[in-house]
Amino acid sequence: MANRLLAAAVAVAALAVHPTRAVAQADTPRFELVVQPTVGTTSDVFTATVRFETRSFARPDNYEAPRFDGFEVTKDNQSTGRMIHRGTYPRYVEFHRYVLEPKRAGSFHLGPARARLRGRSYATNRVVVSVRDAATGTAPTATDPTKSGGVGAPGYTTPVPPAEDDMFLHAVVDKPTAYVGEQVTVTWLVFTRGQLGYLSPRTLRLNDWWAETLFQPRRNYQFHEATIGDTHYQVAIVSKRALFASKAGQVALPQLEADASLAYRSTRSRLLVSPTPTVTIKPLPANAPAGFDPSYVGSFHVEALVNGKAPTPGKPIAIGPAAGILLTLKVSGTGAVARTAPPVINVAGFRFGKPRDSSWRSTTRDGIVSGEQTYRYWSAAQRTGAQQIPTIKVAYFDPASGKYQTAQTVPIALLVKARQGSGVDLTSREDRLAAAMRTIHTGSINRQSVSYFNDSNWFWLLALLPSLGFVGLVVYQRVRRVLGEDTPKSRQRRARSKARKRFRSAARHLAEGNGHELFGELARLIYESLEHAVSQPVRSLTRPQLKWLLAERGFDAELIGRIDAQLDRCDFARFAPAGIDDAEMTRDLERTEALVTAIRDTAKALASDEEAPA
């Protein structure tokens, strides 16, 4: 019992605590301190801003301003605001702004500001501000300010800052001249005097260059300090690329564009544009050796393997009868390895085509692009016996020496075994694959088309036909059931149908001039109408009995008289039709039609009288 009570109490407590916790998490305030600029001199004015923002209308209690050691607060103000974010979410924002003047030079830790919200204490971040003496400001320096981060900008030069601009881009190129295809390292730097809100570089337009990325900050920029004249900046690398020129002449570097803003000025985002220094690109010398491909600029080494085996001096590599040879050529070195063209292999006794596949890997260690391209060629030996793949030469231009060089493989001795009998030695993987493959289809070919049965009308017809059959059966059974029921309505429908048939038959007899049949049909029509009206057989009744019955059922005397007269006329005419002409027969037909209508109306009126409440 005690255990159950304890468990229940724990559950209730958990339920009670849970929503509070959720509310607390949802209402964690944004509380931060920003100082602009973070680097300056003793003659500069600094601004500190504390922002407190909650996702409700709750205000902070006991706000405590940050410590500004080394600074004098010359002015401060506060502003608050309540808003409904996106029409749904409440927001409360409070800003405290402080204008600071440094008392002395040094590095100061400002903050944190403190506040309480719903009994919980919160504190802002701390900001390090570096202040230098204005009188002894550092002289302009050409030292790479990013060097300490390990990703320095080769060939760094001090930029000329734009007038009255606290943020700009700078482009640094490592060399003023280069050959076509030689690596040129370009570093784009951002200089800022304030805390960076965001910086989003746009895509580079590499018109006359092929590029390899050397360094690209993934998340945060790594800032360093730099001084230009009397002004202190924070500097970070935005991008660092190895560029390879594709044409000679005075070629401008690609221009880097970036959308940027300082912290708390995100609404004032602006476009920063880097300068575009030009580089003199020299053409390659004219005395290129035969087979030289202009993509080979750098320093290269080549190595050849046969069927994955490196050549051993004095020991030929054995090739099975009619077996394939896989020649692997590895080109490694520094330069734009990824864009090098595959060497063309012309070896007597073999027929090597284009490489069947290739793979490459490159590294950018120490800012130099290097790597290895592996090309795989396949061929079958065209003759047997001892053979040799001679040295394969790859000519390249070495920009360091300014001369063409040649890298070459060592000759590879092969021993192609002769075929014995008709069997094929399937030692190589290519031959095993060839044997396992189903061979090509020969013969005539015709145009085919992709057609899906499920898209055709036949599919829908076959799919819907059973359901339509079922629906048809249901409808048929329903109609049959309705028609087969014995209700006043169905009786009336049947009587009318019968009457229509009688009238059509009478009209036919009239057209044929058959008076006997016509009057017989009219008499039957009147009797059937009466039987339907009084709901009992009347043909066996004598005429007085019929009149009494009709009167008893409520038919008025005038109608009874008309019925009697017409029945008399029919009896007479049936047995003496010769004395009646066509006009009279037509009038009889019309009279009978009117009589039947009157009988039907009377029967309907009498029936409704009976149904009406007494």
């Binding site: 895509t203 580079l204 590499l206 590029a211 085509g353 284009k354 069947r356 596949d357 290739s358 793979s359 795989r376 396949w378 079958a380 993987r429 694959l433 060839a434 396992a436 493959m437 189903r438 061979t439 090509i440 289809h441 020969t442 013969g443 005539s444 070919i445 015709n446 145009r447 085919q448 088309s449 992709v450 899906y452 049965f453 499920n454 898209d455 599919f459 076959l462 799919a463 059973p466 359901s467 059959g469 079922f470 059966l473 249901v474 059974q477």
Partner: protein, 253 residues
């Protein structure tokens, strides 16, 4: 005059015959090149027929073989897939496609995890061919409604009870077959797939050369074609990765 007319007619007939017989001659020529081990010539011959608009499963199969023998696994797999699209029960193409995929697995063992394995649901719905599922759906549908019709015609008895049970089972099977068929049609006919043709290439984050590099993909990988933009194709892998590649690197099925 008559002679001139007869000669001109004969010339026209000969020219017409030569034009109609052009395709088989090229096909024969490409087959001959294949037989002689001139794989590149065979590829060129078959490709010229494909470029001329000829669509035929044997042509695609032979082209796949020529690419396979010349070591180009991506185009080889692409053409086997094209042959199988025309003729899903093409046993030779299935066999060689399996060999080519084995070769891809041998050549690039460090392929991306789950990039080729479709989700369990896709594997279930594509386990049977569209044609088989269509036949099953129509058969179950017919059995279901025939059962219902007989249930209405037979008034009572054990036979009627067995008819009701049969109809319920057939109805459930009809619904299952319809769902499978719809999903199968969606994944095989409505969703556009492509085959990676290059030996290996990096997907890009955007439709331009300088955008960030994504995952490395290999030849023969079956990818979903999501969109196109000025010479680039946005592709999606089975493991959810997506990126852009040049459109020449993808053969769309």
């Amino acid at each position: 005059m008559n002679r001139i007319v007869i000669a001109a007619t004969a010339l026209l007939l000969c020219a017409g015959h030569a034009a109609s017989a052009g395709a088989p001659h090229s096909f024969t020529g490409a087959n001959r090149a294949y037989g002689e081990g001139r794989w590149d010539d065979a590829v060129a011959g078959y490709e010229s027929l494909v470029a001329a608009g000829l669509v035929n499963r044997d042509l695609y199969f032979n082209l796949g073989n020529a690419y396979f023998r010349s070591g180009h696994l991506g185009p080889s797999i692409y053409n086997y897939e094209r042959a199988l699209r025309l003729s899903p029960s093409f046993a030779d193409a299935k066999h060689n496609l399996a060999l080519a995929r084995d070769e891809v697995a041998t050549r690039w063992p460090d392929r991306m995890k789950s990039a080729e394995k479709p989700s369990t649901w896709i594997r279930i719905v594509t386990f049977l061919s569209t044609r088989t599922l269509t036949v099953l759906f129509l058969a179950f549908n017919l059995a279901f409604f025939c059962g219902l019709i007989f249930v209405r015609l037979v008034r009572r008895g054990a036979f009627r009870t067995s008819l009701i049970v049969t109809s319920v089972v057939a109805g459930m099977l009809t619904i299952s077959a319809a769902v499978l068929l719809w999903s199968n049609v969606h994944y095989t006919q409505k969703v556009h797939y492509g085959i990676v043709l290059n030996d290996q290439l990096h997907m890009r984050e955007g439709a331009y050369e300088q955008s960030g590099e994504g995952a490395l993909i290999h030849a023969g990988l079956r990818v979903r074609v999501i969109g196109r933009e000025s010479g680039w194709v946005q592709i999606g892998l089975a493991n959810g990765h997506a990126g852009w590649v040049p459109d020449k690197a993808i053969g769309e099925l």
